[in-house]
């Protein structure tokens, strides 16, 4: 077994185990920490796929930013030793049947699908230079419009979050 294959199995085992623990843990802070492990293992996937920039974004923005935000909100809204009730039996069965039937059908169709074994085109090396050029490019393969849209969206979200979470004056 080669090293990348070994890393793949290690990372996917971590992802699946910690995803299940994220939704199954009855203490909320632990759920958030398991989600952090899932996100870090996913960044490992991106390294395996040779997308180093995106792995960095995943680690800083997702694992660094969002998880910290979620942990803050958990500490603000619930007691740290609070333990959830078990979910109702019908809900549990519904969720598990979605997992088994939905996941089974999708996996079945996926494994029957013939993908091209080897693409005829040659891979481009993903350099920082190329990413910057395309992200702010206007021509073919340019993404300046979504880039500007997401900057406006983030501004709107920032204002909205402040307005929504603000304490009312009276």
């Amino acid at each position: 077994m080669t090293l990348p294959l070994f890393m793949f199995y290690l990372l996917s085992a971590a992802i699946l185990l910690f995803s299940v623990l994220t939704i199954a843990s009855r203490k909320m802070l632990r759920s958030a920490v398991y989600l952090l492990f899932v996100l870090i293992a996913t960044a490992g996937f991106y390294f395996l796929l040779n997308y180093q920039f995106l792995a960095g974004v995943q680690l800083t923005l997702y694992a660094g930013g969002i998880v910290v935000l979620i942990i803050f909100s958990i500490l603000l809204t619930s007691h740290i030793s609070h333990k959830f009730k078990r979910p109702a039996a019908w809900k549990l069965w519904m969720g598990l049947s979605v997992l088994v039937f939905g996941g089974g059908t999708t996996l079945w169709m996926l494994l029957l699908q013939p993908f091209d074994k080897d693409p005829v085109v040659k891979a481009v090396p993903v350099s920082m230079h190329l990413i910057g050029d395309q992200l702010l490019g206007l021509g073919k393969n340019g993404y300046v419009l979504p880039f500007e849209l997401i900057s406006v969206l983030l501004l709107a979200v920032m204002i909205a979050a402040i307005v929504v979470a603000k304490k009312e004056s009276n």
Binding site: I23, L92, L154
Partner: protein
């Protein structure tokens, strides 16, 4: 094929991760744990985009940029959701999805 890994390896993991997220969305009651399940779903979709990019169209970076934008929008979504959750907590003092069936009081 990259280092002996095929597209099926990655897609299997991301499919399972997606449906674990959907299951969590169904079985959990607390709003923040529902948000955690949504993050799992988004993350598996990002893996899908990157895998299709790398294995089928490696001469372009479309999946890469879509993933970048998905991560940005996920951050926006999480911050709005948390603002709403804190507002709800201030009004009714808990954040169970079962108790949030009325818009106001």
């Amino acid at each position: 094929m990259i280092h002996g890994l095929t597209i099926y390896h990655f897609l299997t993991v991301s499919t399972l991760m997606f449906f674990i997220g959907v299951t969590g969305f169904i079985i959990r009651q607390n709003l923040i744990t529902i948000l955690l399940s949504v993050e799992l779903i988004l993350n598996s979709v990002v893996i899908n985009f990157l895998v299709f990019n790398r294995f089928l169209y490696p001469d372009q970076l479309q999946g890469h940029f879509f993933s970048l934008f998905i991560i940005g929008i996920a951050a926006a979504e999480a911050s709005i959701a948390i603002a709403l959750i804190i507002n709800i907590y201030r009004r009714i003092h808990n954040i169970n999805a079962d108790n949030v069936n009325e818009m106001k009081y």
